[in-house]
């Protein structure tokens, strides 16, 4: 099939550009660990969240030098625990599940943007280099109180 010379050039440039995009994001994902969240697949009985470790004791725990684990439960319409606080430079490993419907877990101003799916456990780690009061909100519609579902994390 015949293509005009300029169309051949255009498609080469276009496809080349797309290929560069893919190489960049692919390299970041598979060589640098910068990939979409929840790489490790763990399941949980969604009706027994409050009885299943670690979610039987949700909370923020220090696990190392400036390293924390945030074990969290999303539910209609809030997050447990609420109002966490960490020092600047802290790395938090988030472990989140839902005890009812699908929720979102989004920390405004960061790339922390997880889907929280009942029966599944979501994971993501983030280093908080900048101080502030970060808003955590649910960004996946979950019912009447969806717009109130939020908490904060204070980085001092």
């Amino acid at each position: 099939m015949h293509l005009h010379r300029l169309e051949k050039i255009w498609l080469s440039i276009g496809i080349g550009m797309l290929a560069v995009f893919l190489i960049v994001i692919g390299t970041m994902a598979f060589s640098m660990g910068i990939k979409p969240p929840s790489e490790h697949h763990h399941t949980i009985d969604p009706t027994k969240v409050s009885e299943t470790a670690p979610f039987d004791q949700p909370g923020l725990r220090q696990t190392g030098d400036n390293r924390y684990e945030a074990v969290m439960v999303a539910y209609a319409f809030g997050f447990e625990p609420e109002k966490m606080e960490v020092p600047v430079g802290a790395t938090i490993d988030f472990t989140v599940t839902s005890s009812d419907v699908v929720h979102g877990f989004y920390v405004v101003g960061t790339n922390i943007n997880l889907m929280v799916v009942p029966g599944e456990i979501s994971h993501l780690s983030h280093t908080f280099d900048k101080p502030g009061e970060y808003l955590i909100l649910c960004n996946e519609y979950c019912g009447t109180g969806h717009e109130y579902m939020a908490t904060t994390i204070v980085v001092k």
Binding site: M1, H2, L3, H4, E7, W10, L11, G14, I15, L18, F21, L22, I25, G26, M28, A29, F30, I34, K35, P36, P37, S38, H41, T43, I44, D45, P46, T47, A76, D100, V101, V102, G104, Y106, V108, G109, N111, I112, N113, L114, M115, V117, P118, G119, E120, I121, H123, E133, L135, N139, E140, Y141, C142, G143, T144, G145, H146, E147, Y148, A150
Partner: protein, 544 residues
């Protein structure tokens, strides 16, 4: 000039009018939503924001689109594949219409009764009334029947014209409905096998990850089901309207086959932030997604080439002389052209959305809402509006008047202004973090949320302007039905002399469908098996 078959015209008109009725109600809902988020309106106690949002999504994204598409496709199939629909095809068209309409009415009632505030993605384990899922199933099944009609008319044309290249409109219609047929299998399985028994209570639990995967297997090609009919207008109709020629018949067909291949095995790019799917398979489907960008890059070239060759044939010179001879004052060109132009930022946004980990910047923010208000609600919608200005006169034996044309230009401009404010603000405030699908809130007056408010107000203003534009298109539709009698020719472009003969491999349907199925199996088999083996089920919840 052969006039459009009157009886076929009734079928076409029924679809177009139902589509605009849905647009009107959906548009009203949309305006109210914008007003609520902008802080200018509190809804009365018996109307929920999320109820309105569900109605808006279903009416705009499912009903307006599907009905217009089927009506438009049937019109072109009637005109180009024989001049008249076969009796069996007309019957299928009407039965499909009735089944879809019964489904739509049941669905809208259930939504407005507050029993299905689950939004148009109806994510489990939120559990709506079984009648909501039944309504959706009826809409899909009705559309299948309509699709079968198109397949049959095409097949019959091929048999009576053996050896001849099928007309471009008919060919593209078959690709569109084939895409739809293959894509809807996913949502049909989700709704019929998983959700209906579960919402009736015959089954206690539902596999949430599986249901989401089946939905998005459908949900991505859905947007190409919307886009391809707009592309049919751009490829086949616009050249005629501007007094030019189709740039390349083969490249047009090739682009459609590439859409068939690459718009389906890509659903994971809507699930990038989810657990339960490995990063390998997410990235693989991202790569396949990037391949579906290519036929759009080809289409962009074809469109500009059509305009440039048209200009040069009329004596224009220089790089952009062809701009001068385009019929800017003709709404049948102007509206679809604005659709084409706006597809540039629309598509660019889509590429960003699909970029694997970069999706974290935009997922579930208003940026996404801004994106699809450019793609379907502007590029596709304005093209559909542009089609209406000749389609209604053609099928009803009337003519477009200069006054109607002027109103059409005004309506197009009004739509673009409203969308500029609304979608522009949505993109910006989305990057600032404002979530989509969320009613009015300031999150306890958190400073970030306070920062979003001016943008939400701009969105509300855009929403008001758009409602005015919706009212104007509805007025125009009614006026078109009462336009003066006369004959309007169905605008079908002719292929340029410079275009090479179309290779026959583009009509080897079995081969193309085979490759499409192979790609789907490749992209989904292992992740689906993994899901069925490892994921757990959940009971249902009514959280509204």
């Amino acid at each position: 000039m052969k006039s459009f078959d009157r009886s076929d015209g009734k079928l076409v008109l029924a679809h177009i009018l139902f589509a605009f009725a849905a647009l009107l109600i959906g548009g009203l809902a949309g305006m109210l939503q914008g007003a609520v988020r902008g802080g200018t309106l509190t809804l009365p106690a018996n109307i929920g924001y999320y109820e309105l949002l569900t109605a808006h999504g279903v009416l705009m994204g499912l009903i307006f689109t599907t009905y217009f598409i089927i009506g438009f496709l049937y019109s072109g199939v009637s005109h180009t594949l024989g001049g008249k629909l076969l009796p069996a095809v007309k019957k299928l068209g009407w039965i499909g219409y009735i089944v879809m309409s019964v489904g739509t009415i049941i669905g809208v009632i259930v939504i407005l009764l507050g029993k299905a505030s689950v939004l148009y993605t109806f994510y489990a384990p939120m559990k709506a009334s079984p009648w909501f899922y039944i309504a959706l199933a009826l809409v899909v099944i009705g559309s299948w029947l309509s699709g079968f009609g198109i397949f049959y008319q095409y097949w019959k044309w091929k048999k009576t014209n053996s050896g001849k290249l099928s007309p471009l409109f008919g060919y593209m219609s078959v690709v569109t409905m084939l895409l739809w047929q293959i894509a809807t299998i996913g949502v049909a399985v989700e709704v019929v096998v998983q959700l209906i028994p579960w919402s009736f209570g015959w089954v206690e639990q539902v596999n949430v990850v599986l249901s989401r995967t089946l939905f998005w297997y459908f949900g991505h090609p859905l947007v190409y089901f919307w886009l391809l009919p707009a592309y049919i207008c751009w490829y086949v109709v616009i050249p005629k309207i501007i007094g030019g020629r189709i740039f390349s018949d083969s490249l047009a067909r090739l682009s459609f086959m590439l859409f068939l291949l690459f718009s389906i095995p890509v659903g994971f790019h809507h699930q990038l932030m989810e657990p339960g799917i490995s990063s390998f398979w997410k990235f693989l489907q991202v790569v396949l997604t990037f391949m579906v960008i290519v036929p759009s890059l080809m289409t962009a070239f074809s469109m500009f080439a059509t305009f440039e060759l048209n200009g040069r044939a009329k004596g224009t010179k220089g790089l952009f002389g062809w701009v001068k001879v385009l019929p800017w004052k003709d709404v049948r060109f102007f509206a679809p052209f604005m659709g084409m132009l706006i597809f540039i930022p629309a598509g660019a946004g889509g590429i960003i959305n699909a970029s694997n980990q970069m999706n974290a910047v935009v997922h579930n923010t208003l940026w996404v809402t801004g994106h699809f208000h450019l793609t379907v609600a502007t590029s596709v919608a304005l093209t559909f509006f542009g089609i209406t200005y000749w389609l209604i006169p053609t099928v009803m034996g009337r003519v477009l008047t200069p006054r109607m044309n002027r109103l059409g230009i005004i309506q197009t401009i009004l739509w673009c202004i409203g969308m500029f404010f609304m979608s522009g603000s949505m993109h910006t405030v989305g990057l600032l973090g404002s979530p989509r699908r969320t009613a009015y809130t300031t999150y306890n007056d958190h400073p970030d949320a306070i920062l979003w408010m001016p943008y939400h107000v701009a969105m509300a203003i855009g929403g008001f302007i758009l409602l005015a534009a919706v009212l104007l298109i509805v007025y125009n539709v009614i006026a078109l039905m009462r336009a003066p009698k006369g004959e309007t020719e169905y605008p079908i472009g002719e292929v340029s002399d410079a275009s090479e003969p179309t290779p026959r491999f583009l009509e080897r349907w079995g081969m193309w469908i085979g490759i499409a199925v192979a790609l789907i199996l490749f992209a989904y088999t292992i992740p689906l098996i993994d899901m069925l083996n490892t994921t757990v089920t959940s009971p249902g919840y009514v959280t509204w």
